[in-house]
Subunit: 216 residues, 2 copies
């Protein structure tokens, strides 16, 4: 069993954190402040293996870290977590660089095409092993692929082969049978750039329980 730090107290952090607890990992949820009310609620709901603290506390605690902050706040949050606390560790980036600032419009990406959030994180924290994963689906599906009938896919990418192996093991424990490894971290461009299609489909279906499958 692992000690895992979750950065972010939103729906994604809650969902991933609770799943990891159910799999007997020890999880510390981190936020900007040590007394975030959502993190406190989450700890109450998840028992003795759940704890909470600052971003820095969670990063220091974890042997492996999940970035579940909103994409446009991720670099700030990771800086608060601290380069030393993230160094040498697997950092799973689930965030999407969505910019919601234009009210009344669909969010756009704050970075895309020639760069990605995951690459920005890898450049900013070169001693961490960034693995992009799970960003291409709604959070209920992330930890429970059986919500959707039939086969469908989760993608990963990253520069460190062992880090990807570690993340694949966690994904398999979530129920994902065959994660598709897209290669190095620059593949995160493509993974983040599917969000506009995902958002459009969500608007049409009015239901986020769908996912991409690569038919072959």
């Amino acid at each position: 069993m692992l000690k895992i730090g979750i950065l972010g107290t939103g729906d994604v952090g809650n969902r991933i954190g609770s799943k990891l607890i159910s799999l007997n990992h020890e999880v510390k949820m981190g936020s900007r402040t040590a007394d975030n009310s959502r993190a406190v609620e989450w700890v109450k709901a998840n028992g003795a293996k759940a704890s909470q603290g600052t971003f820095s506390d969670a990063a220091r605690f974890g042997d492996l870290i999940f970035n579940c902050t909103s994409g446009i706040a991720s670099i700030d949050a990771l800086n608060m977590a601290g380069t030393n606390n993230l160094s040498g560790k697997v950092l799973v980036d689930i965030a999407n660089p969505l910019d919601f600032s234009k009210k009344g419009f669909s969010p756009t990406l704050s970075v895309c095409n020639t760069d990605s959030l995951a690459e920005q994180i890898q450049r900013t924290f070169p001693q961490s092993k960034v693995v992009k994963a799970l960003n291409t689906m709604g959070n209920p599906v992330m930890v429970d692929p059986e919500l959707i009938p039939g086969d469908h896919d989760v993608f990963i990418c990253g520069n460190d082969v062992q880090a990807k192996t570690d993340v694949v093991e966690i994904l398999k424990s979530f129920g994902w049978k065959n994660p598709i490894d897209l290669g190095d971290i620059s593949a995160a461009r493509g993974l983040e750039m599917v969000l506009p299609l995902w958002l459009r489909l969500y608007g049409i279906f009015q239901d986020r329980n769908f996912n991409f499958k690569i038919a072959r």
Copy 2:
């Protein structure tokens, strides 16, 4: 049966044109010059209902037009086809705005995120009814979805409802059971932005006979 203009003499134009001929449509393939060797070859191979000429000839001929030119050349090609020849007609845009100018790197998109090639075309030719379709897969799959086992998806979007109905009818004649209508032409952003993921998967599989399916 329809009279259809195909703009572009590459693999996509050849594939779409030959499929349309096999379905008994009359097809004129257009290019920059009236004596393009690939167009001449295509006419020879496709019999009496196939003809060729300039972009302008093909656009004038067609009741419906397919843009099968390379994305970064599309606006130029459509200008050569002529606003009047395209006016009032359904213009199916299959192109992707891929920029191959950086040698040794994967192509990037010349437009994305807050705009798309299909929207650029619709703005440049406001009297045409632009429908984005088929750009999210390799050209063999476009006209023969049964190349890939099981269900998988084709997406369309556009501002004109009747134009989309016309295109859906053609797609069904190609073998597509349930094209997914993503709404207005701005959904083309999402459709064009899946190309980086498609290209990465193609690089890994070394086989372009795969396609996206939306699992629900």
